[in-house]
Point group: C2
């Protein structure tokens, strides 16, 4: 799915998860393990392809050890 | 669905939406109209019964005219 056809806020969320994950030196596999989500799901979230829901948003925040608000912070 | 059996973060999210809505003197009908969501859906979100997804989270934030982070701020 080309990024241009995706919703900007899904892309922004995915980019934010990737930035937080890589900042912590975590692989997608490790973040998937920590969050209890499937690696391919984490990968598709990071690509901005998922309309991720509240429960999984909280699982990712917990796994990244950040408050949920941090996942929605727009960083340049 | 008794509140006790619901996920705390869904209840917190719903309580936050209700607080922001009532602060703005909006009815559930008006918030539903502004967000393009169904009134019964807004009502169930506020009762903490919905695993609301990213797209609808953004619709509600836009309708309430707040950044998405505001919907996840924990207020005493």
């Amino acid at each position: 799915m080309p990024r241009t056809s995706q919703k900007p806020h899904r892309i922004a969320f995915g980019d934010r998860v990737r930035a937080l994950r890589t900042d912590r030196g975590l692989s997608q596999e490790k973040l998937a393990e920590l969050s209890g989500l499937h690696r391919t799901y984490v990968s598709s979230v990071e690509r901005g392809e998922r309309n991720i829901a509240l429960d999984n948003i909280h699982e990712l925040a917990d796994a990244l050890d950040v408050p949920v608000t941090e996942l929605f912070e727009i960083r340049p």
